[in-house]
Amino acid sequence: MTEVARFAVSYSRFIDPEGRALADLPAFARDRETVVGLYQAMVLTRAYDAKAVALQRTGRLGTFASSLGQEGAMVGLGAAMRPEDVLLPSFREQGAQLWRGVRMVELLLYWGGDERGSDYAGPREDFPICVPVGTHAPHAAGVALAFQLRGERRVAVCSLGDGATSKGDVYEAMNFAGVRRLPLVFFVNNNQWAISVPRDKQTAAKTLAQKAIAAGFGGVQVDGNDVVAVRHVVGEALEMARAGDGPSLVEALTYRLSDHTTADDASRYRDDAEVSAQWKLEPVARLRRYMTEAGLWSKQDEETLIEACAAEVEAAAEEYLATPPLPPTAMFDHIYAELPADLVEQRAALAAETGRGR
């Protein structure tokens, strides 16, 4: 017997759960402003999530998916990307989206049931939130193919969860990305739970990263609760793609500290002890410990930041709550570029019924 192939999957971490740097940090992490910026974005994301959950609990927002505990993965992802790259998120990427310039009020409008929430004023080419799990992976391949055909040095980033790696669409997209060596990074936010199904019931594969190997490109693991490591590892994947060296997959190991969504009750299917243990690994306190120890962050800085985030979140919530719904006939807008004659009558009927609209 001859061995014809052999593969390895690496794991990266720079800052451990106690906030200690394990090795020389990447260059960007030696700059105070950069590290502080990552921290601020994580705290803002957590404040946004808390506010959104509170709005939902008081009947002022629809079902909402919190990213509690995954702020490091998402902020690291967003921070690694360039503005001209395109993000194709699933539905828990608020940390990355906010970093890229999606407005908080837009995210609230989306979860509050208003299509304008997907009309991002900032990253105009970024895809909207994708709820059907993994179905956006082929879109990412299409976007990356467009970049490749035009010879642009841009990268499409498809963010998905551990559950999505079980979907055929994701494999089809990965397979094609490998064949065409597309400028595409698959970012797997492995938060260990797909609603109530744990990671070990999702696949028998030892890592999710190794799924890339079957598609002909590399996959690596990173500590998703170490924002520095995520930014670094995703940054390397992006540069490889940008240089024309093809796709890759980054599996960020993190944990969903919240319920799946506000419509879920995770206590039905997982132990409090598991969640408590994971709280010791979460990304925000970890980076704060590191920054405090390194003399980059003071109690005063923390208080100022908490206040600023609260103010920003409050302002976004107020703007969201003050935004009146679209007129009923707006549901007919943008169904087609031009409303076909066949739909004009239906729109008129709705306008007549509601006494509003054209």
């Binding site: 299509e115 105009r124 080419e125 082929p138 391949a141 499409a156 669409d169 997209a173 807008d333």
Partner: protein, 326 residues
């Protein structure tokens, strides 16, 4: 002007679209060097190069999803599915994404694309190669569903589809891919995507059909004329969005209507046309609307498929039934 077949007209329209718009790409399984299983893309790889015509892995969900991504980035992908029976994985992408992207982003993103698939039975094909699932697609908001019935309409409608800003499911009646030749002027003139075509005028009964069924329907009209029955024949051509007016006007004049579809009866697109006649044309009807359709069975394998396909005789019989009402 030359006489060409329907599949040659598809090829001609694709070539013209690619020549006129560098954003038009062709992708699918075997569309490159092989020229497609029906040769619809023959010669296009050589003419337009591997950056515009390329084979993909065998991944139908991917194909439709690629269209969403490419379309959102300003390309106009034309995607070939080898047979409609293999296109079901794309249904998810059409329903969840392609048909919604423009609306859900308030026009920020859209995905113009054409999904081409040969459809329909009657060519003694293997299992899963003969379906007529057009109604599934016509049910989806934000999608156009277009079915040509002649070489000239294939050329004009496909050109229009490649220029349309929204996703178009373009279903090609493979039974008549090479059945007839027709003069087609390759001048880049498109046909409208929101119009039915009146192929034959008549005062006694309106026969409504699309795709390959026009062959039997036109033959039925001819047979009926021998008995002095003047049938008007309408080619629906664009099922979604539907041009109700042309059908309502015709049936308003004849008072009788037979709808012909190859697809199974229940929930077929003929039911939508019949419902519209009931809604808005009832007072003009002199007889119940008749549907001649496939049965609510699985499409039979070739030994029995000719018993399944709506025939000229069944269409004539249905037309005569409508005339029994005074």
């Amino acid at each position: 002007m030359s006489e060409i077949t329907l599949v040659e007209a598809v090829n001609l329209a694709l070539a013209r679209a690619m020549e006129q718009d560098s954003k038009v790409l062709l992708l699918g399984e075997d569309v490159g060097i092989d020229g497609g299983v029906f040769r619809a893309t023959e010669g296009l790889l050589g003419r337009f190069g591997a950056d515009r015509v390329f084979d993909t892995p065998l991944s139908e969900a991917l194909l439709a999803g690629l269209g969403v991504g490419l379309g959102a980035q300003g390309f106009r992908p034309v995607i070939e599915f080898q047979f409609m029976g293999f296109m079901y994985p794309a249904l998810d992408q059409l329903a969840n994404h392609a048909g919604r992207l423009r609306n859900r982003t308030r026009g920020r993103l859209s995905c113009p694309m054409v999904l081409r698939a040969p459809y329909g039975g009657g060519i003694h094909a293997p299992e899963h190669h003969s379906e007529s699932a057009e109604a599934l697609y016509a049910h989806l908001p934000g999608i156009r569903v277009v079915i040509p019935s002649s070489p000239a309409r294939a050329y004009g409608l496909l050109l229009a589809a490649t220029r349309d800003p929204d996703p178009v499911v373009f279903l090609e009646p493979k039974r008549i891919y090479r059945a007839v030749k027709e003069a087609v002027t390759d001048d880049g003139t498109a046909l409208p995507l929101d119009r039915c075509f009146v192929l034959r005028e008549g005062r006694d009964v309106t026969l409504v059909a699309w795709g390959a069924m026009l062959k039997e329907t036109l033959a039925a009209a001819e047979t009926l004329s021998v008995d002095g029955i003047a049938a008007e024949v309408i080619d629906v051509a664009t099922l979604k969005p539907l041009d109700s007016e042309t059908i309502l006007t015709s049936v308003g004049r004849t008072g009788r209507c037979v709808i012909v579809q190859e697809a199974p009866l229940t929930g077929g697109f003929g039911a939508e046309i019949a419902a519209r006649l009931a809604d808005r044309g009832l007072t003009g009807l002199l007889a119940p609307v008749q549907r001649v359709a496939g049965y609510d069975t699985v499409m039979p394998l070739p030994r029995l498929e000719h018993h399944y396909m709506p025939s000229e005789a069944r269409i004539c019989a249905a037309a005569r039934r409508t005339l029994e009402y005074a």
